[in-house]
């Protein structure tokens, strides 16, 4: 048994680093965050020959160690801190055979940090098609490393990489360049001031804004024998470093890397001509968006319905199998109903992540960025804002993080602020259930009203995002350089394995994250709904039975009984013939009478339960906020649901499910229960066109997601922006919902 080897995977974006990570670790991976920041940390375990284990860390993609973003500085941080538990025993630099020259820049920097380094040349399967030949042996000598030619598509070379990692001790940790050539005099002074330190490491500490080493940086500033240079001078030196490195790389590649241009095929050029065409480019983009929506709203209904049925089966089964009591009720009504509420939209989320991951993996997303940049600029956005705005339809959290690639701070800030307006998947269950309840069936130009409503809601979200971006662009007085550099990667067929992992990972973390909140809220609500302090609550049974004796059943109950009887009569076969007819009609009349009795009894029990709910802790809280939500057309139950969904929107349906199930004895789908609710007058359904639209508009605009607020706080490094977002979006949502209800009612 030996200790495991720490391995860091490093590479430029678009070199297939993640594919190699997946190949090395299989499903044994863990995705978390670096402490205190939102950069994703991917780790995994890889089994090496002879029983050795490697702990593999997939570092964020970067072009060099000269960092410009949070993601990139994580790389520098890990590589500079020998005491970090992630400090690698060996670095594996992943490169793309087609872009070897540029990819080697990062390699030489890592070598110069004196870390044992292995070079992986990926996409080897494209070499013959691109007419590339590499003299591995000669290159290994020049770069002083071991090289593995790998193709993640065929799996070729992965075993060799594992072998190289296992034998990392045989690698020499010598630098490629004499870094003091960057600025001989300056480096000599550095050496004098800090004789014990590695000079290139010091150089990086001086030039990079890395958070973790304020102490070391201070030491440099404090050393009186040493004067630091101005920012401009340092930048000049960094340029010089880049030039020197390229000189070294050019000399290396001259004899070892050959491209026969005759053999190269022009897939990129041909595809680019169509995909970035001034008309077809936009048409194709629009068609792809349509396809995505079609998948989400049509194809995913089948698995969704299936999941829905399974959950009500489980709930029924629990109620019938377990001994009846408080715990069973909580489990069947609170927990299962709540989790079911989120599980039904797993298919939608999976589809969204699938498409986004396909667009990114194939290289198409960059073309969209290129197409849209000029169009987005008048709104203060960048072409790169399109990526967050599209992935915001899945979830605003990764979308806000995806804004990191935007170089200009103002464009990035505006993108962060408007992204939560896009219709994220958490709004879907709310929209879907409300649309099913209040929008009539029927169609217009072959499109159903319900589908049209949903499309309008999506357009509304995008429209609002763009509109507020325009306003913010005028209002925000931030001076920032408008920089825009977007790599246009080679088109690639996405790897099934990569896409599969992404979809699985993202969907899982979404469901687990939302599941936890829903579970907690369901339990709290259930408790608050089934306990109370007032006399009314305790004597609910007597109060209600007295009232029924005097005034009869409530309109809701009468309606409930009538509907069920109608249904019963309709489903009873009347296929009896001749003289027996009279008898059979009598038999039916009898059974209807029995049915009515049973239904009346259960209606009475329901009335007791709902009376109790109204006087429980939750009922009291709901009544307290009712004046605030009444002008929008909501009753106190919806008020509670809106309030709890400030934690996360998808909680809305779960909350209503919990409230209604505490208030009734019937096992029924949540939709049927909502449809049966009546408004104050007792004549109209509670969820009618006016209140339904008001609710949908409220959910379209309100900032109801604590996780998004938290991520915005982290990304903007201030409470100012998330609070502004919360205040503005939610006030706006309230006003719009108010207007909608008052106009429509």
């Amino acid at each position: 048994m030996s200790k495991s080897i720490n391995v860091a995977l490093i590479g430029n974006p678009n070199t297939g680093k993640t594919s190699i990570f997946n190949q090395l670790t299989g499903l044994k991976q863990k995705v978390g965050n670096y402490p205190g920041i939102t950069v994703e940390k991917k780790q995994g375990i890889c089994k090496l020959p002879r029983g050795v284990k490697a702990h593999i860390l997939d570092l964020p993609g970067t072009y060099s160690l000269n960092t410009t973003s949070l993601d990139e500085s994580v790389v520098v941080e890990v590589l500079l801190n020998k005491n970090d538990k992630d400090y690698p025993d060996v670095a594996v630099v992943i490169t793309d055979v087609e872009n070897l020259k540029r990819n080697l820049l990062l390699f030489t920097q890592i070598k110069d940090l004196r870390i044992p380094t292995i070079l992986v040349i990926n996409m080897a399967d494209r070499m013959s098609r691109k007419g590339i030949s590499v003299d591995i042996e000669a290159m290994e000598k020049k770069l002083d490393t071991k090289i593995a030619l790998v193709s993640t598509r065929t799996g070729k070379g992965v075993t060799y990489v594992k072998e190289l990692i296992a034998n990392y001790r045989s690698l020499l940790a010598q630098p490629n360049l004499d870094t003091s050539r960057i600025a001989p005099e300056y480096f000599a002074r550095l050496k004098q001031a800090f004789p014990k330190e590695d000079i290139y490491k010091l150089w990086l500490v001086i030039t990079q804004d890395v958070n973790f080493m304020p102490i070391e940086k201070k030491r440099i500033q404090d050393a009186t024998s040493f004067s630091t240079k101005s920012k401009e001078d340092l930048k000049k030196l960094q340029h010089r470093e880049t030039v020197l490195r390229y000189q070294f790389i050019n000399a290396t590649l001259k004899d070892t890397y050959k491209v026969d241009l005759q053999a190269a095929t022009g897939l990129r050029a041909n595809l680019d001509k169509i995909l970035t065409h001034k008309i077809f480019g936009y048409v194709i983009f629009f068609l792809i968006l349509l396809l995505i929506f079609q998948a989400i709203f049509e194809w995913s209904t089948y698995p969704s319905d299936f999941i829905d049925e399974q959950f009500s089966l489980v709930s029924d089964w629990l109620k019938n199998t377990l001994p009846s009591g408080i715990l069973t009720d909580l489990l069947a009504e609170g927990v299962i109903a709540g989790i079911g509420g989120i599980a039904v939209f797993i298919p939608q989320i999976a589809f969204l992540f699938l498409f986004i991951s396909l667009l990114e993996e194939s290289g198409y997303m960059s073309r969209v960025v290129f197409l849209m940049d000029r169009l987005m600029r008048p709104f203060g956005l960048s072409g790169k804002s399109v990526v967050p705005l599209i992935s915001g339809t899945a979830c605003a959290i990764p979308a806000v993080m995806a804004t990191r690639t935007i170089e200009s701070w103002k464009e990035r800030l505006i993108t962060i602020l408007v992204t939560p307006f896009t219709t994220c998947s958490a709004r879907l269950p709310v929209y879907l259930i409300l649309i099913a309840l209040v929008i009539p069936e029927g169609s217009f130009l072959g499109l159903s009203y319900q589908a049209l409503t949903l499309m309008l809601l999506y357009l509304l979200g995008f429209g609002m995002a763009i509109f507020s971006a325009m306003v913010l662009n005028r209002v925000l007085k931030i001076k920032s350089r408008t920089l825009f550099i977007a790599e246009m990667p080679t088109y690639r067929l996405p790897l099934v394995k990569n896409v599969g992992y992404t979809v699985l990972e993202k969907t899982k973390s979404f469901v687990v994250g939302a599941g936890k909140i829903i579970l907690a809220i369901a339990i709290i609500l259930w408790f608050l709904g089934s306990n109370g302090y007032s006399e009314d609550f305790k004597n609910a049974e007597t109060i209600v039975s007295e009232r029924i004796e005097k005034q009869g059943l409530s309109p809701y109950s009468k309606n409930y009984i009538k509907n069920n009887i109608d249904l019963y009569v309709k489903s009873t076969p009347l296929s009896i013939t001749g003289g027996e007819k009279a008898v059979s009609i009598r038999a039916i009349q009898d059974s209807v009478r029995v049915m009515t009795k049973i239904l009346t009894e259960s209606a009475m029990q329901q009335e007791v339960a709902s009376y109790r709910l109204e006087h429980s802790y939750m009922g009291c809280a709901g009544k307290a906020i009712e004046p605030l939500v009444k002008p929008l057309g909501y009753d106190w139950k919806i008020g509670i649901a809106v309030l709890t969904s400030f934690a996360a929107r998808e909680v809305f349906v779960g909350t209503l499910a919990t409230i209604y199930s505490v208030g009734s004895d019937q096992e029924d789908t949540i939709k049927n229960r909502m449809a049966a609710e009546l408004d104050e007058s007792g004549k109209k359904p509670l969820f009618n066109l006016a209140s339904g639209i008001s609710l949908m508009l409220f959910y379209a605009f309100a900032m109801q997601c604590m996780s998004t607020l938290a991520v915005v706080k982290k990304e903007t490094n201030s409470w100012k922006w998330p609070l502004l977002q919360l205040l503005f979006m939610s006030t706006f949502a309230y006003l719009v919902a108010l207007m909608a209800f008052q106009l429509l009612k």
């Binding site: 072009y63 020259k101 880049t242 065409h277 940049d373 000029r374 825009f484």
Partner: protein
Amino acid sequence: MATVADLQPGQKGIITEFDDAVLPIKLLELGCLPGNEVELVQVAPLKDPIYINLSGTHIAIRRVLANHIPVSIVDNKPSL
């Protein structure tokens, strides 16, 4: 003097010496260095941004930035 922004689609140029202070280091790392070849691959529908090939690295940049990269145009024949 001509800059990358003046290139026609398919036209190539050699990057000449430029002022270090203006261009971001990221651009240099991507291969925008004096002596390297640059080709204008395509122009976005609204004339901006532009899509260039920096000796093998394909990137898109805005015209504002392209204006700061001086080139000597080498290839005047129209693209095939």
